[in-house]
């Protein structure tokens, strides 16, 4: 079996596609997923991300997901740019695809650098991305810190679709720590709730990383439970407002990521603005208005019957 770890592309290497003859110059390694390595490449002075895989079938499954996502949102700028194979000097062939390069850093690095103030917004954007994916008929599967890129002003992009699975199928790839099966919290069937569980673990990993890893290492497999995770939700001040939300996600209570996102948004702004002057409650004002109108009508009738008003007015 070929594995991508055998292939290392040094900066400066020029890759020419076997089928479509596109030429790309390797700038540097960006990261590594289960199905291959991602490089920053340049073509005609534009930067792209290129994923080079070890196995054509695995990589193609991923491409199939990206394609079906692209066909759903026509307005968005294209994500997948080219699909081809590269041939090395020794004759070995590696499949690759070229996608839009997303500038950004992994979510934990971003929050460390920019501050936890960004957490609620970044989380909300991530939930939006998951909702979009679910509505397209897929579950992300392998949600973890490394697969969430955050760009300027908390914009979020999911990377590495190696775990993306059609709804109802068995999740293709997952990381134990984020897997609800690992925590005895449910099946490995691709459902929206699967991603939301991973999302909640991701939040814990961001702020309670040490306690989370300790829990994973010390608890006996048969004793691991979402209840243990729920106990971690209200320790950190950044998580505390979302503790109830996280508990619901860990218990699989949100029907969809969209519903989860809406609930998250309520918490983000739910503190409410403190008003200096009490607003008049709307119902009371309407009642007052009705009373006034009634009094006016009665007055007019009374005045007319008394002959004070000219009859022409009625």
């Amino acid at each position: 079996m070929k594995t991508s770890s055998e292939l290392r592309l040094a900066p400066g290497t020029v890759i020419t596609g076997k089928w479509n003859r596109g030429r790309y110059r390797v700038e540097r390694l960006l990261g590594e997923g289960a199905n291959g390595k991602v490089y920053l490449v340049e073509q005609n002075r534009r930067l792209y991300a290129m994923k080079v895989g070890g196995d054509a079938v695995d990589l193609q499954s991923e491409i199939n997901v990206l394609r079906s996502l692209a066909s759903r949102r026509r307005r968005a700028e294209p994500y997948l740019m080219a699909v081809d194979d590269c041939v090395r000097e020794d004759g070995s062939e590696y499949p690759f695809y070229v996608m839009r390069y997303v500038r950004g850093s992994a979510v934990h690095e971003y929050l460390q650098r920019e501050g936890a103030d960004w957490f609620p917004l970044v989380g909300y954007h991530l939930l939006g991305k998951l909702a979009e994916l679910h509505e397209a008929g897929y579950v992300f599967g392998d949600l973890k810190r490394e697969n969430v890129l955050v760009g300027d002003y908390g914009r979020v992009e999911l990377v590495d679709f190696g775990g993306a699975t059609a709804l109802g199928k068995s999740v293709r790839q997952f990381t134990e720590l984020y897997d609800r099966g690992y925590w005895n919290a449910g099946s490995r069937t691709a459902e929206g709730t699967y991603d939301l569980f991973s999302y909640a673990v991701l939040c814990l990993h961001l702020f309670e990383g040490r306690r989370l890893l300790q829990l994973a290492q010390t608890a006996l497999p048969q004793n691991r439970s979402p209840a243990d995770l729920i106990r971690l939700t209200d320790g950190h001040p950044a998580l505390k407002p979302f503790a109830g939300w996280l508990a619901r996600a860990l218990r699989g209570e949100f029907a969809s990521a969209r519903e989860g996102a809406a609930a998250w948004q309520l918490i983000m702004y739910g503190g409410g603005v403190k008003m200096n002057r009490k607003r008049t409650p709307a119902g009371w004002a309407a009642g007052l208005f009705a009373c006034t109108m009634l009094a006016l009508a009665a007055a007019i009738v009374w005045l007319m019957t008394e002959g004070v008003l000219p009859t022409g007015l009625s």
Binding site: Q60, I63, N64, V83, D84, G168, K169, G181, S187, R188
Partner: protein
């Protein structure tokens, strides 16, 4: 689709060469995967070669892992083997339809549909995985992790849409010494099973080859357990019948 997953940590030392047994399995359409479980500081360099050769003869793959990585490795190997098996079947079709040798030989724009079919079949084809566990003395501290890995595998298989079953065997047979014992007959649910592998003191021999031959036989006789076998066959199902 039929798989035999051997989990061991040492060399076979009794009976038939396990590489030959693996070749037998392959001839019967059973893919053989092998996982060597090693703990830090433990060296099994002699066994490493054997593990690799068994997998090669059985058309599968081999990995050396520690107990922590065991669950994920079992899960990944099983899945990967399913895809490979389907792929091999599909490649035959490709040769006839497109004159292409494999998916890789197709131009990228024609791979999409083929891979979609591979994914679909991989998810829905019936699957049988027989796990053959080495329970000789040095494996004993690792058996807890093996049990967890088996339970984890069942969880993964339950989310497939196709029928998926496992059977579990351990070797050596403590009474007979020369073969394996069936601990769990074909099943898709082990929720009610408290303990899969026995906690008895094991004898020191490692009859990997003979044990594999018995598992191949088990595959062939779909309804083992109802068949009365001669004592020389050695496979005395304890929980079966």
């Amino acid at each position: 689709m039929r798989q035999l997953l051997l989990i061991t940590d040492g060399c076979s030392n009794v009976g038939m060469n396990p590489v030959v047994a693996a070749a037998h399995a392959k001839a019967e359409g059973i893919t053989v995967n092998v996982i060597g479980v090693v703990e830090r500081g433990e060296s099994i360099s002699a066994a490493e070669v054997e593990i690799e050769e068994i997998a090669r003869a059985g058309g599968g793959m081999s990995r050396l892992v520690n107990t922590r990585q065991l669950s994920q490795t079992v899960q990944m190997m099983t899945r990967k083997t399913v895809v490979t098996t389907i792929q091999q079947a599909v490649n035959k079709e490709l040769r006839q339809v497109f004159g292409a040798e494999s998916v890789e030989a197709l131009p990228p724009e024609r791979r999409g549909e083929v891979v979609r079919v591979i994914d679909e079949l991989g998810e829905s084809s019936p699957l049988k995985v027989a796990l053959l566990i080495d329970t000789s003395a040095s494996m004993r501290p690792k058996l807890q992790a093996v049990e967890e890995a088996i339970r984890d595998l069942v969880l993964s298989l339950q989310s497939r849409s196709g029928r998926s079953e496992i059977a579990v065997f351990h070797f050596p047979d403590s009474e007979n010494g020369e073969g394996c014992v069936c601990d769990l007959d074909w099943t898709d649910n082990i929720a009610g099973v408290k303990r899969i592998l026995p906690r008895l003191a094991m004898r020191g021999t490692t009859p990997t080859g003979p044990a594999m031959m018995q598992v191949i036989d088990f595959f062939r006789q779909g309804d083992y357990g109802r068949t009365i076998r001669g004592e020389t066959d050695g496979m005395t199902g304890e929980d079966v019948v």
